[in-house]
Assembly symmetry: C2
Homo-oligomer: 454 residues x 2
Amino acid sequence: MYAPLEPHGGRLVYNVVEDRDRAASMSAGLTKVEIEPTYGPDGAPIRNPYREIMTITYGFVSPIEGFMTRNDVDSILRERRYRGWLFPFPLIYDIDEETVKSLGLKEGDSVLLTLKGKPLAVMNIEEIYKLGDRKELADAVFGTPERNGEVVKKRFDEKHPGWLMYRMMRPMALAGKLTLVNPPKFKEPYARFWMPPHVSREYIKSRGWKIVVAHQTRNVPHIGHEMLMKRAMFVAGAERPADAVFVNAIIGAKRPGDYVDEAILEGHEALNKAGYFHANRHVVTMTLWDMRYGNPLESLFHAVIRQNLGVTHHMFGRDHAATGDYYDPYATQYLWTRGLPSYGIEAPPYQVDKGVKVRPVNLGEFAYCPKCGEYTYLGMAYGDYKEPPLCGHPPERVSGSFLRGVIIEGLRPPKVVMRPEVYDVIVKWWKVYGYPYVTDRYLKIKEQELEVEL
Amino acid sequence: MYAPLEPHGGRLVYNVVEDRDRAASMSAGLTKVEIEPTYGPDGAPIRNPYREIMTITYGFVSPIEGFMTRNDVDSILRERRYRGWLFPFPLIYDIDEETVKSLGLKEGDSVLLTLKGKPLAVMNIEEIYKLGDRKELADAVFGTPERNGEVVKKRFDEKHPGWLMYRMMRPMALAGKLTLVNPPKFKEPYARFWMPPHVSREYIKSRGWKIVVAHQTRNVPHIGHEMLMKRAMFVAGAERPADAVFVNAIIGAKRPGDYVDEAILEGHEALNKAGYFHANRHVVTMTLWDMRYGNPLESLFHAVIRQNLGVTHHMFGRDHAATGDYYDPYATQYLWTRGLPSYGIEAPPYQVDKGVKVRPVNLGEFAYCPKCGEYTYLGMAYGDYKEPPLCGHPPERVSGSFLRGVIIEGLRPPKVVMRPEVYDVIVKWWKVYGYPYVTDRYLKIKEQELEVEL
């Protein structure tokens, strides 16, 4: 009944050369191009393309095999399709005009992309082109209230990290197929969460899972998140509960105030280790990606990578992959029930030709109801759809900033808000980095050290 | 996406004459046949066919319009089909040979069926036939370990109330279409829960519900039942939670130790009144039926009546409509995932031609997990299918007999076991009947007074 879904585009990309000799001969004599982060207006790194290179070559975004051409970018911005297949974001290798000139880069060349001076990947340059006005590019990527009024409520600006990534890109771009010639080694604790699509698909098969629901996270799990996952398992199954939750953390550029990546991964793992999920119904994995905060667009990205990872369903909650109030809080649910016609997506992504096959689990918020004695479901509302809450009592909402305050004060959060085993993980990494949340110091360390060693 | 399902058989039966003059002219001059209960070996009533007459004429079992002919019964026992449409049980109006003779009943006659001497329904006698060996009939209805080994684990006997109903039937049967000519008035508290299919379908429509999951009950709701209902709402929705739970209590023959019918109805209602379910996501209704305890067969009966009532989904838990260990505890889940080939049902009921259209929600048990702080899901197992529990902790199971002991001792059950508002309903009816559960005295009152007045 639930056969594993085929990869997006039909074939799983795996452009990784593990053979050292072959990698060396592929790289020999190539011009080296050092991978450079995108920087914000204050000079802080807000994106590192090495993560996209890893994500592309390991097949997370199959069928995409490299950075996009101008035509590819235009097609994405016109109808959110990459060579026919639904895909939300332009993947652009941006570069300075001076670098192109000084290195004498030409279309048809192959170059060796290096990370902190060490070989990472070979790119066969298919096209070198100018990006034009990056503010217009950024607006086109995310939408505007005028053009995309069904979900965009406010004009994007520099406070939006995703918009800023495109806004701050260098003026030119290299497009072309990528081959990873020096697969990096993941540092602890990342290594055990790194499960690229070909591994993940085998893992799911070996567990006998037929219905697997993906959970997107960039948070240490509060009990509200746990309950969202547990309820989503029931929704995904249709006739019985899903077999498992596939937690997939987005590891990449951070902002001050975020939870640190190490605590996010180990916090979710703690739910499994401490038995809040049965070990055979839950797994924690990661994807390298500098989050665009594109709400409905990001949800489509999530569906693509997780279909490639082998899941059958994807849960989407309120403000999915959002920041600020640019999008409607249920813009993602809008996409997955109606499509986004103003972006060229005429129907839900699983109903369109060459769309994704992952099925959505659309949910509103959960909050603790002291009268019911459990997390209750608060319902959701978008467009003309309005769902009442599950119970008739006033819920006890715990705001994120309240919880943040509790944690910063060094207090153990209330038992109904966070599992003690998860809090212990926060404390563990607090001791390492001197603060429970991301600080400027953490950002500097993270950019210098990255998640990998070459 | 979720259009209301059509009635079973395509057309909703409504053989009820509300016009008093027309009813009088239909009944005038007809031979009166007093409806007689089926009695157990100890002389206690175990079934009253008036309930089946109500259930048939109001269309709960559409397309069935009357008691069955010998051919109908043979077809049910051969392949669980009534004139082509899936249906699990023979509906038989049994009668003594002496009564047939003394009243001079003949095929082609119409008779007036009376309840406690008062007119209830007209039957057009299509056939008068002998039932033969009722022990063989009872075995054929429920199955035997030899013939139906996929789900029947033990030979049925007189301790099984459903088997006993067929075993104790009178030797002859009248078959024919029924018309209710004197719609009874329901007593309190039944009246407000009586919502026959044509009313129920309008009610669901007026609420705007698209996905509605039926809950079968013959119990005052423990919190375990409430959690089963709440989780089933999530399963039924597939892409979002269901709109509502449609509680449908089976009101009919009771056994000592059962909860009293009044407490069952008002107990479920209390969950709604006290806000454990939002008023627009939950409704409590009833069906008149002397339960057969036929586990998978009863689940098919439930699906038929609730499809006619207008739901889209039906939840099935462990030991659905079961008593004793005659059937496998997950025999119902077996039917709804694989069919019951030995009964002539080759695939799940919604996959066969002229099957039911209601979709199943198959669930195992729930029990309180003190570590998770919520009711956790324990999984299910049948055939070669085995589902692990949701969490990895040992749950705190509260046995029914422990809870019964607590209640009989006059103690308020623990908060994690029963809502106080539900317990208050038990106490209310305890005061009326002198005991919290069904006693011989309650059975006598119930048989004398029934749920209706004529």
